[in-house]
Symmetry: C3
Subunit: 141 residues, 3 copies
């Protein structure tokens, strides 16, 4: 088990603008603030979403575009470093009007209706991603 | 992006009583303790649930009553102020005996079988809700 | 409402090894580190999973084995004490290639493809489980 010990720093309570791209907003925020290590948690609703499933044997992403208005039952993720820049990695659970859930890796073009997010900064050793041939993903090492 | 910086304060590890109304218990707790700003995370099980979906174009809530015993795969939410009083906003993901998930905004009459909750208090500027005409919801501003 | 007040201590950013048993890795970690009280949050993907649903009236667990590669939309849980030893309690939400979600109590033989976990240690009174006859579960008291 890879283990990075970190101190829990200040938190940011965030509300991205109505209509904005959720993932892009988070990326812009952490780059602007120089936040290299953080944990994210959020709830809300979106007016459309892209969720991604990783085909593990093929090492390919499958994008699922949901052109629907959906509740966000939960989002969780983190900020770490890739090529010296902070990168946001978020997974999300969405729900439709019948309560049915859809989830996966958060993609671009997920548009905010309202999101309420806690970003907790962490202070500790650099947590960095690099390409991992075994999975085909950029993972912590 | 609206950004309130906050310090992470003491936490409360909470177990609402068997058979109690989950949302009401949380609301009563934060009002009794004078907690105006917090983040919530939890898991457990309920003996019935109400989840709510917000119809964004109609600006109307749709309530879905699940008169079933369900696992709580996760709940996330927060405490902020509305009309000078703390208000609890929680989203939840529920699962049935086949593992299928149902989720949305947590409503009243969701009855605790067992819930294990972390409520992390936050200290910072007041985070307050008011009616937002664009969405029809009481949102942070 | 049972309320244990705790201080939020150092955090561990964890990545269990590829192919390892997610729940076993977490249990081994907290026992090795002597962590008796903590909160967990994570995202990632698994190559197979076991999720458990508790039949509340029968007081019996139903295990659902998912021999599929799945995204982990979210996992949440905690560490507390049972019989003087730390025990990890985790719930998880999984998603397939169509985005459909499956969730419940995390069981053994859930194999890590990649998991990114924040374990936040908590310092406070001992939080201990014992058998609760009303539910048939080992709950906080």
């Amino acid at each position: 088990m890879l283990d990075f010990q970190a101190t829990i720093g200040p938190a940011h309570i965030l509300k991205p603008a109505y209509g904005s791209d959720l993932l892009k907003e988070l990326g812009d925020f952490v780059r602007a603030k120089g936040i290299n290590l953080a944990w994210l948690s959020g709830v809300g609703a979106v007016s459309q979403a892209t969720i991604r499933y990783y085909d593990q044997p093929k090492q390919e992403w499958i994008d699922l575009v949901l052109d629907r208005r959906l509740e966000v039952a939960g989002m969780l993720g983190n900020v770490s470093l890739l090529n010296g820049e902070p990168i946001v990695h978020v997974h999300i659970t969405l729900c439709d009007e019948e309560g049915h859930c859809f989830g996966g890796h958060l993609g671009n073009d997920t548009l905010v209706f309202n999101m309420e997010i806690l970003l907790t900064t962490l202070t500790g050793p650099a947590v960095t991603r690099k390409m991992d041939p075994q999975t085909g993903l950029t993972l912590w090492y």
